[in-house]
Amino acid sequence: MDLLEYQGKELFSRHGLPVPAGSHAATPEEAVKAAEALGYPVAIKAQVLIGGRGKAGGIKIASDATEAQEHADAIIGMDITGPHGEGPFRVGELWVEVGTEIAAEFYASVILDRSEKKLLVMLSRMGGMDVEAIAESDPEALVKRHVDPIDGLTADAAAEIVAQAGIPGEYADQTATILLKLVDVAMAEDATLIEVNPLAVDSAGKVIALDSKVTIDGNALFRHPELEELAGDADGDPQEAMAREKGLTYVKLDGDIGILGNGAGLCMSTLDVVAQAGGSPANFLDAGGGSKAEAIIDALEVITSDPKVKAILFNIFGGITRCDEVARGIIEATGKIGLDLPLVVRLDGTNSEEGLALLADSGLGNLHYETTMLGAANKVVELASGSDS
């Protein structure tokens, strides 16, 4: 789960990491009020879950109430696309913070390095640009060091990282302390990524976190109830929010073919096979072992609430889950919600013949069935394009 900048900064604050004073605002009026209280200049910052906000016009400095109003009006409601094509995300909330006069910009991060199975600390004296750009323009300027899984990051190790990164002496102690705290935050809050870019030096010589990018391990939210409450807030997409409420694993995509599969791997594979057949998947939805009608009703409700969906593919490989139970669930669910979109069901594996026989006898006109993934993909693509005419 990714935190918005201000949520990350609140987390930093709780752990004693220095951040600029600021306020959250959901409307331009609230933004102006916050700016007046903080004193000018203020930075008005779009709160969306992607980098590159500055370049996209999502961060502006205001030196009086008129400018604060203008910028807040412009930023709320704008769409921002990320540097890797993420989004677009519509800006629904703002963070207004005291403007910082920047004397120097560094880069600091702590990430979970999956390859090495350790936390990795990174520090550079070149901040303000993205880490890939730093690594490309001057690899030596980016110091990387793994955290010992037993001893953690020691004060000596932190001081060495700071010296090696060439952080000027007058900021060295503050920066080393910040690195130690970032590792503490990662471990205490189950953060798999914490990036502070820039880690800025202000005009008073204080080193502060001017931005935050934090990812919390979704599997650890049970021990962070205060973070779990934020989970819903970040969900801009209505289907994703609905799926979360129903406890389904759902990811919204751009296409018009609704997908439901059992198992994450098989479901991903289903998206790929549909794309190879010339179709465009509307979503990822892993039904897990769920064969019961209630689970299928929930899944169908989420999928069909996306108005772009023209046809649906159920790809089920029955292992311990029995295909006849799945077939009964599908028939009951389609009847209950009055589904009229074409539905292609691929049943294979345990009791698939019984399941297919049940579908054949159901008398549901919009129900098509197949025994292979490729056959089912071709069929659903044909049905989705056919409903255009």
Binding site: D2, L112, S115, D217, D272, D286, G349, L374
Partner: protein, 291 residues
């Protein structure tokens, strides 16, 4: 032969008194696996369908000679159970539990390495050595004994490919689900090494998915260390960046961890990569029969 589990496996199941643990543990016993014990703290002295239950894994090892532990414990307690298994004297720990916090696994991973205990999973379907033993949730009916080793991050995708191999008349030495979490006890490389050493494995099918770089590192390793043919399948070509696709580890971060990059890395080292599970199974059969 087979890898990791076989006729000599003596299985202890942590969580045998739970619904899932008893269902799958007893299923494993029905298949022929030597299920010797269950463990649930506070329930020592009870029995589950004739299987003795102990308060600790170490006690079960002392009393029954268990050498393999399966973890079916709820996520928030699972890492502690794996740690307990690592210290208990078993040689292999297979963790089925999904949803263990990754920070918990950081310590547990290194503990297993340090003690020389083989950890499979978590968030995996387990291991099946057809005709010998089944530890986990893999439905055995789709797999016959044979010459193909399978190593996979995904459960159902493996059943899909296994079923296609069976229909083509081929079988498996072992099927190993390594799990879909960001940190798993054994990676592709660890399992590829075992299949390379197994005299009854002639070909290896590797099933990967988006996220991390385990497939890329496996590609390098295959080129350097593996003499047997490897056929791969990768899922997630249509996955958008930054979105977790079901498995905790299945996420493209920025521009790294894409299916395309994994496919290219494997193909650059001469590994054939199927476009679909069906094609991967067909490639495996074709390569095996050509060899």
């Amino acid at each position: 032969m087979s890898i990791i589990i076989d006729e000599t496996t003596k299985l202890v199941v942590s969580g045998l008194t739970g619904r899932e643990g008893s269902f799958h543990g007893l299923r494993n016993r029905d298949y022929g696996t030597d299920l010797v014990a269950g463990v649930t703290p506070g329930k020592g002295g009870q029995e589950v369908e004739g299987v003795p239950v102990f308060d600790s894994i170490a006690e079960s090892v002392a009393e029954t000679g268990a050498n393999t532990s399966m973890i079916f414990v709820p996520a928030r307690f699972a890492a502690a159970s794996i740690d307990e298994a690592i210290d208990s004297g078993v040689r292999t720990v297979i963790a089925i539990t999904e949803g263990i916090p990754v920070m918990d696994m950081l310590g547990t991973y290194w503990k297993a390495r340090e003690k020389g205990v083989r950890l499979i999973g978590p968030n995996c379907p387990g291991i099946l050595s057809p005709g010998k033993a089944n530890v986990g949730i893999i439905p055995a009916q789709f797999f016959d004994p044979g010459r193909i080793g399978v190593v996979s991050k995904s459960g159902t995708l493996t059943y899909q490919i296994g079923n296609e191999l069976k229909q083509a008349g081929e079988g498996n030495s072992s099927i190993v689900g390594i799990g879909g979490d960001p940190i798993v006890g054994s990676d592709f490389i660890d399992i590829l090494t075992l299949f390379e050493q197994d005299p009854d494995t002639d070909l290896i099918v590797m099933v990967g998915e988006i996220g991390g770089d385990a497939e890329e590192r496996a590609a390098e390793f295959i080129a350097a260390e593996i003499s047997k043919p490897v056929v791969a399948y990768i899922a997630g070509f249509t996955a958008p960046p930054g979105k977790q696709m079901g498995h905790a580890g299945a996420i493209i971060s920025g521009s790294s961890g894409t299916a395309q990059a994994k496919k290219e890395a494997l193909e650059a080292k001469g590994v054939k990569v199927g476009e679909s599970p069906t094609e991967a199974a067909a490639l495996a059969v074709e390569t095996l029969n050509a060899g």
